[in-house]
């Protein structure tokens, strides 16, 4: 029987991973991911999780060991944040190229410098092109649920790609929330054993990671790019399956607020919950506003997003990362690209908010709405809340 408990989200994620019975966890500690991996090593130490916990000496080795493990046919997990994610960077490209379904939690944290342990999305936004499936959680229940779904999605025969589950560092990872935790029997019904398609084994020797000569590199890349694009229906399928098992339905793009609203907030991650409160307030005040929450980031859910925002005149896109020198923030760039040349393209106001753990209150989101509604956001992007002499 599942049970509803008040727990720190990190610990719920660790429990979710434990329930998935990974074979190998290879991880290096970094704030604010630490509680996840600490809890997992407690489980292993107390024989509550039959896995190898490899306490690697860096994140680069964490991901490298994870690939070695996954290539040997083991269900493999790791977690990291910011600098750790960046340190893994070169290996991140290799995981999908080798079609290794490693699952990783990223407790999103601002990239140095200056050094910051606090939350924003600059870490994961620097990994847009690595070829991983990437999903964002908004609350603790999602963090628990999507962590389990991630294994099922990544290991699906039609996918076989690594998957990143993003949850805002501290803002989510360290929050105590009421979470319904599934029991082992329920998870076992949902998540099958991992059946790798190709493994390192002397009984059938293969060569993994050969030299990608120019005559093959492009096709090798297309192979896993296609797998990434094909993962979208699998993501939806798995989320629908999860809904059947738990009653909790997740869509790759969610819509809330006033139906047929002309102005829509677009958010990704836990800031979306603050925006949700703001939108509810505004709607109560009679405003014609709604919200679209992006859950799946890669592959970008093009059709689902366009369906969700259909009819809107204006989108207020919140980015939680700066793209210095770029035309606008990462999410806004994606959305503008999507609507380029289309007659139904809405006006897009891009607001960069919540950088480096800077809090943005519900009231501020109402102010942003008012500013946008009044046509006050004329720049390609507005960085919210900057103290300046200007």
């Amino acid at each position: 029987m599942s049970k509803r408990i008040g727990t720190e989200v990190s610990l719920a994620v660790a429990e979710a991973v434990r329930l998935c019975n990974p074979d190998v966890v290879s991880a290096y500690p970094i704030t604010p991911q630490t509680h996840i991996v600490e809890e997992l090593s407690h489980y292993v130490a107390n024989d509550e999780l039959d896995a190898a916990f490899i306490p690697v000496e860096s994140e680069h080795s964490a991901m490298s060991a994870a690939l070695g493990s996954s290539a040997t046919g083991a269900r493999t997990y790791t977690a990291t944040s910011a600098q750790g994610l960046a340190l893994m960077h070169e290996i991140l490209f290799i995981a999908p190229a080798m079609r290794l379904p490693v699952v990783m939690t990223i407790a999103n944290r601002a990239m140095s410098g200056p050094i910051s342990i606090w939350n924003d999305h600059s870490d994961i936004m620097s990994e847009r092109d690595v070829g991983w499936i990437q999903i964002f959680c908004e609350n603790g229940q999602e963090a628990f649920d999507l962590s389990i779904c991630a294994f099922k999605i990544a290991e699906d025969k039609r996918v076989l790609l690594p998957m990143g589950v993003n949850l805002d560092g501290f803002m989510l990872s360290h929050m105590i929330e009421p979470i319904e935790v599934m029991d082992q029997a329920e998870v076992d019904k949902f998540l099958p054993d991992y059946h790798p398609q190709l493994i390192l084994d002397p009984s059938d020797p293969v060569t993994m990671g050969p030299v990608g000569v120019p005559e093959v590199y492009l096709e090798a890349k297309v192979q896993y790019e296609q797998a990434l694009l094909n993962s979208r229906p699998v993501v939806k399928e798995v989320l629908a399956d999860w809904a059947k098992h738990t009653g909790r339905e997740y869509k790759v793009v969610e819509r809330n607020g006033k139906p047929d609203a002309k102005i829509l907030y677009v958010t990704m991650g836990s800031l979306g919950e603050s925006v949700m409160s703001a939108v509810d307030s505004l709607v109560e005040q009679g405003e014609d506003v709604g919200q679209v929450r992006l859950r799946l980031w890669r592959p970008f859910p093009e059709q689902e997003f366009m369906d969700a925002v259909a009819g809107a005149d204006k989108l207020i896109v919140i980015d939680r990362a700066l793209s210095p020198g770029g035309v606008c923030g990462p999410v806004a760039t994606e959305i503008k690209s999507l609507f380029y040349g289309r007659d139904d393209a809405p006006e897009i106001n891009n607001v960069i908010a919540g950088i480096g753990g800077r809090d943005v209150s519900v009231n501020e989101f109402q102010d942003i709405y008012a500013l946008s509604k009044a046509g006050g956001i004329k720049e390609n992007y507005l960085t919210w809340g900057v103290k300046s002499n200007a």
Partner: protein, 325 residues
């Protein structure tokens, strides 16, 4: 807890029982006379086929795996340059867990990591140290041709003092490599692993039996294998194997093992040769002046004396003298 294991039961090779099956096929694209691939092949003859190989980026990886071909007859994975030990750690951990959970069949393969000197002594030192410290049951083989050969002969920390490379060229104010060769085997031994050894293909029995001891280790084993690169060193291809023997005979590359902390020189020479004999047949040392050679001789002698002291101190010196060659 020390990673001590009893290696006395290792499957020793004799002249009559030299294994001949190589896990690398002909048709690989190594240079003519490449002693590195000879060394790698020799290691796999001694390991047998129940292995999984993790390979660093480098000459060996490039010449054995150009898509769509592979010279590897055993399971093999290449991920990146500096992480071979970490990849091997992941494989080893996975094998043990899968076996424990009843998810795999067959006898457990041994995990072998192959990496060059650059991939080991420089960029890969961290991940090597991590793997050794964590005590994974694997054999890490550093194939040492004393420079970053695959990218065009640039210096590594394993390049010997005075050697010419493209990034340590001799010139008006340079004598070539300005630092002394990093002693990675000693670094490995400092991790208290069950087995560390240096070897060269010219003493093939010594090499293969060291591999056999490494196979018997219930913990990490580190093998540092001297591998002549005629292309990079500027020596005649036909004397590539002999050059390794000369390196051992003049003390530039002594052959020893460290078994559970006991140091033992495995090849002692009643008549060592001067380093000059070794240096003069390689173009990479041609620019050295006689006083440079003297400096090298002095340092080589000092290092060798230190090795002998380590041997004596750790209880490795035999009561009777070892046979010569």
């Amino acid at each position: 807890m020390r990673n001590e294991t009893d290696l006395s039961g290792y499957e020793k090779i004799t002249a009559k029982t030299i294994p001949t099956e190589c896990m690398i096929s002909s048709g690989h694209r190594a240079c003519q006379g490449c002693v590195e691939i000879l060394a790698m092949g020799m290691v796999t003859k001694a390991t047998g086929s129940n292995i999984i190989v993790a390979n660093a980026t480098g000459c060996m990886e490039i010449v054995t795996s150009p898509y769509p071909q592979s010279a590897w007859k055993v399971p093999w994975i290449h991920v990146a340059f500096e992480n071979t030990a970490a990849v091997a750690s992941g494989i080893e951990a996975a094998l043990k867990v899968l076996e424990r959970k009843g998810k795999r069949k067959g006898p457990l393969p041994k995990v072998i990591a192959f990496a060059g000197d650059g991939a080991t002594a420089d960029i890969g030192l961290q991940s090597l140290s991590g793997a050794l410290e964590r005590g994974h049951e694997l054999i890490y083989v550093c194939l040492d041709n004393e420079a970053y050969m695959n990218t065009g002969v640039q210096r590594s920390s394993s390049t010997p003092f005075g050697a010419m490379t493209t990034t340590s060229p001799p010139g008006k104010v340079s004598k070539g490599q300005y630092s002394w060769k990093k002693n990675v085997a000693a670094i490995a031994a400092a991790h208290n692993v069950p087995y560390v050894a240096t070897a060269c293909p010219g003493y093939h029995m010594d090499l293969m039996n060291k591999v056999r001891k490494a196979m018997a280790a219930k913990g990490p084993a580190y093998l540092h294998v001297f591998a002549t690169c005629p292309t990079g060193w500027g020596c005649k291809p036909e004397m590539g194997v002999e050059l390794g023997r000369m390196a051992a005979k003049c003390g530039v590359f002594p052959l020893y093992e460290v078994e559970n902390g006991v140091w033992r020189i495995t090849k002692k020479f009643k008549k060592p040769i001067p380093v000059l004999d070794y240096l003069k047949v390689q173009r990479r040392f041609r620019h050295l002046a006689p006083e440079d050679v003297e400096d090298i001789q002095a340092r080589v002698d000092k290092e060798y004396a230190r090795l002998e002291a380590l041997e004596a101190m750790s209880g490795g010196a035999p009561k009777d003298k070892d046979d010569d060659e």
